[in-house]
Every structure is written in C-alpha cells, then in structure tokens.
Symmetry: D2
C-alpha cells in the first residue's frame, strides 16, 4: 500500500476491504510522506520493518527483486501522484489498485491504460459504489430487460463537507482537492461527479454521446468548481442529468441513482443501500431487498448477510477488492476469470472518468455550456 | 366557472377549493362544450337553470348585465382557450381565476397581463403548489435568512401517466396536452415544468438570468416534449437544475424542491407536504411539521389542523382560492389586502411562466441548448 | 351543531367535513356555553340569529316544532355531556352525529344505543380514522382474503401534547380530558385508545375475546391514565397489542396499524395516509397508493384526487360525514342505503368503545392486569 | 470455533467480526458434526490440519496442553449444546464467546455464570445489537439525561422467515429452534425476544420489576411460541411493551426500539442503523447520524466510516468482538480495561436473558398472563 497511514481516511477502508473476505494479506507499504511516521504505522499493522518503505520508489526497487514480492499494490495518495506511482509498479510487473480519478490529465490516463494493456497487468480503479450488491441487481435488471429501453437517467452526488472554506483552515483532505495541480481540472466533478457518471454507466450500460455543463464555485477563493450541473445525451437517445456538489448542506454522502425505462423504473440511494426500489409501468412501487435468494447471481455472490441485516460501505469496498482478486488470480493461474470479475472497473473505466471531467470542463469553459463529446466513452 | 363539468378533473378541485373555506358560492357556469350535458351538470350542483350557460360568450353576455352578477369566474378549460375567455370576462369587468399556463403564446400573455393592469381587475393564476402551508414556511425561512445566500436550487416534477401514448387511446386530458395548438410550445415543460419553475422562484425569490435546456420526446408520434432538462443561472449567481417529465414511471405527482444556501438547506416533497426538512450548516437534519404554533404567520393562516393531522392538495388549492378572495375583497372594498394576499400568483406570474416555456423551447430548438434569457422574470 | 364555537378545535373540523362534499348546510346551533359568544360565532358563520341558541335545550325545544327543522345535529362537546344532549335530540326525533367516546359510562351507552334502535333514528359516532380511503382498502383486502387468516394485530396511538401537566396551565382541552367526571374512566385509553381499538376491528373484522391491560399515569397530579398497554386475544385466536399514550414525545398524531395474516401483511400510518404497505408471504413489500383505478369500490368512492395528490384528515372526516348523510338519506327516503353507508360507525360502535374502556380499566384495577372480556364486542 | 461450518449462518458472521478489526486470528476449531466435512471446511479457512478437531471434546483436550493454545473459543452451535461446551472450555481455562441464549435452562445459566465468576475467565454472550454505534449513542444520551426520567419503552423484534412450517420442510435452522429440547422453553421469545429485552435494558439502564405475557403459536404443529406479547413494569415506574414474532410477514429483521422520557424521545431501527431519531419535548424531530465528531466516545470508537457511508450488521458484530478482545486483553495483561469494554455483554447478561424467558413462559403458562418477576434482572 502507498499512502493511507495515520490520519488518512481512505487507506483504512482499503485495509478493511482487503481483510474482510480474507483475499489479501498486507505485507508491505510506504504509508506516509514522513518516513518515521510511516514506519510506526507499519509496525502497528504487523508489517515487518524491512518491508516498511520510506517512499514508493524504495518499495518498487526492493519488492521487484524479492521472491515473495507483493502481488498487487494499492495506491491511496492524492490524485496527481497516481500516475508516477502506478507507472512505476506496472513497470516492475506488479498489479495496481488505484484510487479514482486514475490521473489528473487525459494524457497520463491514456498512457497508463496503454501500459496496462501492453504489460497484461491489472490496473483496477476504485469506483467503490459499483461494489454494492443492489447496484449489481440494478444492472442485472437492466440487462435482462426489466426496464425496457432506458429513457432517462437521474444521478446525483451531493456532499456537505466543503460548504465552507475548510481547505483554508487546515483540512488536508480538502486542501489537495481544491488545488488544480494535485486534483486535476475538475473540483466536485472530478472528485465525486466521476463516481456518479461511472455508476450511471455501470447500471445502464449507456455510453455518453454529448454533455453540456455548468460549473460553479460558491466558496470564495476556491480554485475549482464545488458544484456541477451536467446534461447528458446518451447514444441511442436516452437523456441524463448529473449533479455533483461539495456545498450541499445536509447531504452526508448523498449518491443517488434513478433510471427510467419504457417498462419500469429503478431508484437506489447509497445511504440506504440494501434496498432497490422498482416500479413497473403503471404498477405499484416495490422494494427489493438485498439478501433474497431470488436475486441475480452477481448480487448473491456479493452478499454476506440475509435480508434485514444491513451491509454497507465497507462490504461494497470489499466486493470491489474481491473482484480485483478474482482478476489477478485468473491472470496468475492463466485460468478463466470467476464471475466475480465481471464488470470490475479497469484502467479503461479510469480513462473514461478522466475523459468525462475533460469534457465537462471544456463544455463549461470553452463552449459556454455547449454540447461536448467525451473522447472515451 | 367555465369548463370543469362531468368527467373533468381540475374543475372538481376548483369547486372543493371554493367551498372549503366558505369564501365562494358557485352560482353560474358554462360547464361543458356539450350544452345539454353542461346543464345537467349544473343542476346536480344546485345551479339555477337560467345561469347555466351554453358557452362562455353567453355567460359573459348575460352576467354582465345582472345586478347579482358573478364576482369572479374560474377558467378550467384547455390552454388555448384561456386567452379569449379571460379577455372576455375582464372586458366585462369580472375578475378571473385562470388555470396555468395562462396562455399558449407570449403575445397573448402580455396582452392579458396588460389588460388586467389597465382594468385594475384581478387575474389570478393557479400555481397550486404555492398554496401549501409549508411552502410558505420555506419562503419565510429564506426571507428571514435561515439559509443565508442561496447557492443551489434543485427542483423536479416527474409524472408517470403519459409514459405510453395514451393520447392515441382516447385519453382526452392527454390529447390536448400533446397538441401544440391547444397546449402551446412546451409539452412537459409547459404543463408541469412551469409549476416547478414558479415554485422555485416563489420560495427563493430568485429571478432567472439564463437557462439552457434539453428537451426530449420519448413516446413515438408525440408532437411535444415529454421530458425536459433545464440548467438555470439565477441573477446573483445561484444555480438551478429543473427536471420535468411525463414518462417517469413510478412518479405519481413527484414535485420536489430542494434549496441549498450558505447557512442551511431545505427540502420539500409534494406527496408528503406536511413536513419541511431543514438542515443547518454541519448540523443535524430536522423535520418541521405543519401546524406548529411557532411557524410564520403566512404558514399559520393557511393551516386548519394541528401537527400530525395531514392536510393535502385540496387544502393547498383552497389556500390559493382564499388568497384570491382576499385580493378581490380588498379591491371591492377599496381597503388593504389581508396578509392572505401576500405572494398570490397574478397575471405577471402567468406571464413569467409563458416566458419561461419560450426560453426553454428557444434554447433547445434555436440554440442547441445554449443559454437563453427569459423575456420576463 | 352543539359546541364547536370560537377556540374549539373539533367543531371546525366538523364544519369542514359537512361542507366539502356539499351534503350538509349548517343552519342552527348552540355553539358556546357563553351564549353571547355563541351568537357572535353563529353570525360569522352565516347562521340566522333566531336559530343561534343559548343552549342545547333551547335548540331542541325550538327546532322540534319548526317545519324546516334540522335533519341532524352534531355534538362537539366534552364527553360527559354527550349523553343528555344526544338523548334530547333523539327524543325530539332528530338524527345525531356524536363525538367519541359516545358516553362516559356503559349504562349511558346502553341507553343511547337502545334509544337509537327503538326510535329508528341514526346515531353516528365519529370514529374519524375509519373515514380514510386506504383504511377501506385495507378492510377490503382483509375481506377478500389477501392476508389469509389474521394472526397478529399491532395498533398504536401515541401523542405528545399532554407530556407535561398542561391541564394545570390553562389548557381547556386537556383539563376536561383529565377530569374523570367529564372524560369517563379511561384517560388515554378513552380518548385515543378507543380510536385504535375501533380501527383494528374495522379493518380486520375481529372481535375481542379478552383483554389484559396495564395503565400508567406519568404526569404528576393527573387523575387518569396517560399511557396504556393492552394485550388482546381475539375470537378465533388472533392476538393484538394496543398502545395509547398522551406522553409520547415526538408523536404528533401517531396512529399506526399493522395487520399480519398467514398470507400477507398490511401497514398504515395516519400521518402518511395515502399509502398502504402490503407484503405478500415471502414477497417484496409494495406500496398501494390512494387514487388508483384498481382499488376497491369502497376506496374509490371516498377518493377525490388522483395518486400523488395527497388527501388528509379533513377528507377522511368528510368521508365519515358523507357516510352519515347516506344513512340519513336512506332513512328519509325509505330507500336502500348507498354503498357509502357500509361500515359507518353507529351507536353500537359507540357502545363497543365504552365497553372496551371499561374492560381495560377493570383489568388494570380490579384484576391486576388479568384477562377481562368486554361486555359488547 | 465450535460449529459454524459449511452451510451454517452465524459462524460466518463470527469470522467476519473476528477478522475486520484484526483483533483475532482463527487457528483451531471443530466446525461440523460431520468431522470430515469439518476438516474440509477448516482447510478452506487456512486452519492447520492438526487443529481441526472432530468435536469440541477433542479440541478442549488437545488445546489445553498446547503452549500456543487458543485464547478464546466461539460457540456457534444450537442452544442446548452451549452449556456443556462452554463449561468444558472454562474448565480448561479458556475464555468463551457464546451465542445467545446462553443456555436452555436457568439452572445451567446460573452454573455457567458462577463458573465464569469463580474462574475469573471471560464468558461473553453475543447480544449482537448492542454492538451498533448508535445504540451506544442512545445509551449515552439516556445516561447524560437528554431524555430525563424514562417513562415508556417500546421494543419489538418481528421476523417473517418462520411464517410457514419450514421446520417440517428440511430447514435445519428452524428445526432446532422449534424443538424445546434444543432451543429451550421460549420460541420467538427465546430466539429474538431476548435480543429485544437486552437492547431495551442496555439503552435505558432499566431493570424489570414484573412482566405479564401472552404467547401464541400460529403455525400448526409447532411446539413453541412463534409470537409473544409482553407487558413490562420496570423498577422505578417505567412501562414497557415487547413484541417478538417469527410469523410477521414483511419483516426481515425488524428490531426496533423507542424510548420516551420526560424530556425527549429516541427511536432506532436495526434495518437503518446509522440513524438515531431524537425529539426534544415539544421540539422538532432530528436525525443524529453515525460518524459525526460530536457523538459520545463510546459511539466514536465503534465507528469506521464518516456520516453517509453506511455501516451495518457485520460492523456491529465486529464491535462486539472488539469489546470481547478488550476484556480478554485486560485480563491477560492484568491491566485496566479500555473504554471499549464498557457495557460488554457478559455471563450475567446471559443469565438475565434466560431468566426473562422463564418469567415470560411462567407468566403465560402458570399464571395466565399474570405479573411475574424475573429471578435475575
């Protein structure tokens, strides 16, 4: 693991996710820009001292020649460091799990994707929310035609935590997210809008044809957007509306997806993720509960508890990690991937996410909200 | 009353609204295009035979010379007839309550508004949802600064009922709503999008600076949009997103408004209208219930029952009617309007609604989604 | 109308209910114990001066000999006055609509019921909540077997408003409700528990076989129970649990009914009355919305607006009033009752309610919670 | 671990809970009554072959003399085996984590509790739901007086899964739960009623003074209750109502607790466990979200993710396991317990649970619903 040491947030989630299904063992890492603090953190996590590294370069160098070298590395650092770290590990023949967005520029994203392709290594991107079982159920329902042709997609991802200028008050998480050099061109649209965009595509299978966007920055002195409105035209005629916001008071982690087809509609809310709401045309709304025996295989294999025993974010993240493990094992064994690997977010999904941010910012800046086609969809 | 006879929907609601608060007595009308059916309907509603008219022209003619002539007429007919009927009654010196949209063209809307201004008569437009007590509470909270400067407005009005081509299957309500000559240029955006737009403006006090829109028609053979996505830039910098849809399966009457300010946020849903959800910055979400003694005066005077005893759509419509009565009484007496008249939707609101539809359709058609400024805001 | 003048609560609701469906005209009353205040109130409500009476005795005396005498009187006074007033009007040949509980003693209840039977007059009791359309839908579903044999009934009616000793602080509504002489033997159980008990029986058709109760008084100095727990054994083996409380902070008017059968379950909550929640055995929960065309006739005739346009407490009360009108019209015409009269709460329902309170208080006081059979079920 | 092998349910949850916080390593077990199947299961779980045992006796025998013997054993077998297994491990000096109910008879429960006391070993009982962070918040709020004196406790635990005679159709989980010899005297009241009873006591700190109960068996041929209604009088005057059911169609795992005090009320629902609903006297209902920085320490140390990132059942179980680890480490080191050990369910809680079931069944059987005082509270 790179990053994710003391005081970090997402690194701890990665470790829970690695542990819960018993598919990973954490044996090495460079956890902190402060090497001593990193070593202390490693010791607390039962890492042997000689595999606690001062930085990622030292880790690549040492691990690549070990017979028991790590199979895969998780990159939990700010966005602008994803590219060099991922490149270094891929160059060393080590699989990579990378936080989203995959890179801060489209050029870097293309390069990483090409590198993953040419080396045959796995580069997984943590589009976390696609790990939720009921998101897989939604996807299965769309695929088997329960909704008919999709007409309208409404997706939103509002947050409250940056409603004031906390980046000026010492919040490190907010500080790099509002720095274009570290975060990339998109503020809210890059940080969370990409999650929403990926989720909508993951469930519906739709590809964007064109987008038109309106970005805003409400907190004074902030260099990137903290609110984004995006209209989407999908190939085939469906229409979408995407909202991301970092200033939406009252919204803790309000990712919400609604899909309307010609035969039915679906709704899902991340804060109550065990339920999927389905309404057939002119019928009664029904609640589909995670854990039922009659759900799709993709849902059932991502389920640990019966209906009524809630699972949450850590289990979703674990599902993603278990998908990554399924791909890596298949590559190692030369065998077929298990069904767990289906839909796993890869470097191409990472590339699509970066292309989406580019298209949004281009639409807003260069085209005054005019329609813009993402380079990769 | 013009229209609203046997089999009509909204006419019955107007009658409930007129009756509940005992502010009106229904004494005359031309209820049906089929005069005999209209007379039968009138008889069932305790209307004297000589005041049941064959059409609106006969009614204007007869009523204007009666000493006990009607004070006000309610127009409950398809959109394209609003203009001639309203004009005829205003010309005869009779106040008018008109269904929305006020007219099908901006020219007619301007003319009617000017006529109301020049005659000094009242022309109220039934933006029904502004009659809900908790909408008045939301407005009062914005006005007294509980939310601080408004940043983001999310408003949506999705419906299911036209998800198939019911206009081809004999549904009269749907038939005229999908006929550009009878309905005007906007389909879903004219029929329900205007409600959403008015509500957002009513609560926040914001005026649109520019809008960019994407319209779609999903049901084959339909001549008007049945889904509309609109991005709004308000004067002063707030941003809005508006969605109207007539093909949103599972949505009965899903008008929903969310307002995010720099100090707090509000959420309200028409299907559960007795609650207003407020969250202060970084605080806990709270539920404000209709009927409490500590709400604003505007809310309290629109309230009939204590908390926990739900009021609904008919009561909201009644509040609108009672507001109209307050204005008309003040005009009749030459006295001041009661506080019930504050915020009542007038011909200018009707005009703004028509201008909004024009801007949306222009943005979509002529400007390919580009920003467009409504002529009246 | 007797009582219900200035400052009263339930009288106003009765008037809304009488007016909304246009089935009644309010022409006479004795609205206030203070005759002058009563006359002023009458004038504001368009009552002719000679039919505004000083008290109920004067009204009976004058009305009974008028050719245009009232058809029916509504009694909106404290409980202990129901008996003499109802008796006087029935003796005079006038139908009666009476607030619940019908009387404060079982003897009075028996006498009134007998009087209604012997005179052939109608004595309706306002078990308001049985006026809700979705309660009729629930009843229809039970009757047609959608739930199979009923096993368990959970009903509760918690309120907050008497959580402190407001009767000592000048609240008149609370004062008579906590005075055994005016209210009867049961505090919360009489005031609201009887509503819950009626509703459970109305929906399920079950009759109590025995009850065991535990009453408590939490507010110091209060003479009657303000919280009641009741276990019910129904004839045929079903079991019930009933909770009423006047000290349940956070509960505005929390009447809630859940019915579990061998084939399905139902849930309904008064504060969101337009929805009925149904789950078939091992199936997905579904939401049944008021206003749909496919609901039972009993539901449809009590419905004014389509799905998504909420109706509430006033409409439920109106439905009750319209049921009363249906019975009274049938008696007047000698014809058959319309389907609107089915299930209307009569004097026998009033009697059952008083017998229930007796059984609860007896179980608690004389039998230390032991099983007790109500005298009328 | 004893039990919990292939096809078992709760054993898997125990393993997740042991793993997530990295406090345990699973090194030995007797997983199955079929020894070969047990060994196969052990191998899949990375257990060395010589520590996969044929039964618990073999495990006690072998482990007690190993230098690296297990610190603690988890018992995940049917109820009637808890006693002999727990006794054997305690006799061998090994700490025990035991599923609830601790034993099937009060005598066994007393004996086990005494043994734990006399040996100084830890015997933890998995009252799972007390592991939820917001349950700790509720407890902290009661303790610091936010609710004032508690008046009323409403707790319910309805399930659907045994609504038909699945025990006759090969469901092993249901088979032993409906066999008095394996399950103990209480059916639903023993299996889930004890959870509800513990939770109510855990949050409020109240001790039962007397209980009165009505048990029912709805599924034909079933030997134990599948529905229980219980009225509770707590010491000090508070009143409680407890409902447990295994035949409640539509209820997946519907544990729900509401507590009403003289200053405020709380509500919590296991299926949406990240929220706690609090209403102050005559105030607005508020939602307290797990993950906030301003919650009590007991809540914060049981929290892994920020607000809006849901945690669930596995995390609650993990919290319990981490509490157990805190106690065991303190015993091992002779040091003080960390704050994580506060409130941990011990053998005395197990004993109270068994005493509660006894009192309920006694009230129902011997006393016809009369008040009965549990032997241990």
């Amino acid at each position: 693991m790179i990053g994710g040491g003391e005081g970090a947030y997402i690194g701890g989630i990665h470790r829970f996710a690695a542990r819960l299904d018993n598919n990973y063992e954490l044996v090495a890492g460079a956890f902190d820009v402060d090497a001593e603090r990193g070593h202390a953190f490693a010791a607390k996590n039962y890492i042997q001292r000689d595999r606690s590294y001062g930085d990622y370069k030292a880790m690549v160098e040492a691990e690549k020649s070990r017979p028991d070298r790590v199979d895969v590395v998780a990159i939990c650092t700010p966005n602008h460091t994803h590219y060099p770290i991922a490149k270094a590990f891929l160059d060393a023949g080590i699989h990579v799990i990378c936080e989203k967005p995959m890179t801060t520029t489209i050029e870097d994203a293309i390069a990483l994707h090409d590198l993953a392709q040419s080396t045959g290594l796995f580069l997984g991107v943590t589009y976390t929310y696609s790990g939720y079982p009921m998101i897989h159920e939604a996807r299965a329902m769309v695929q088997r035609g329960d909704l008919g042709t999709i007409r309208v997609v409404q997706v939103e991802y509002p947050l409250e935590w940056m409603a004031t200028g906390i980046e000026l008050q010492g919040n490190q998480q907010a500080a790099w997210r509002t720095d274009p050099k570290k975060n990339g061109r998109g503020g809210s649209i890059g940080d969370i809008g990409t999650h929403a965009y990926h989720l909508a595509g993951f469930v519906t299978g739709l590809k964007a044809d064109a987008i038109a966007a309106d970005l805003a920055t409400f907190v004074e002195g902030r260099a990137l957007d903290d609110n984004a409105h995006v209209m989407i035209r999908y190939q085939g005629g469906a229409r979408g509306l995407l909202w991301s916001s970092q200033v939406a008071i009252g919204q803790s982690n309000g990712l919400r997806l609604r899909v309307f087809g010609e035969k039915g509609s679906l709704a899902w809310h991340q804060e109550n993720p065990n339920e999927l709401h389905f309404t057939p045309l002119f019928g009664a709304p029904t609640v589909i509960k995670r854990g039922r025996d009659d759900l799709s295989e993709a849902t059932r294999i991502r389920t640990r508890t019966p209906p009524g025993h809630p699972e949450g974010y850590i289990e979703a993240f674990t599902n993603l990690y278990s998908s990554f493990a399924a791909v890596i094992r298949a590559k190692a064994s030369g065998g077929n991937q298990s069904s767990f690997a289906e839909g796993v977010p890869t470097s191409y999904d990472g590339l699509k996410g970066v292309a989406f941010v580019d298209a949004v910012v281009d639409s807003h800046e260069a085209h005054n909200g005019g329609w813009q086609t993402p380079r990769f969809v």
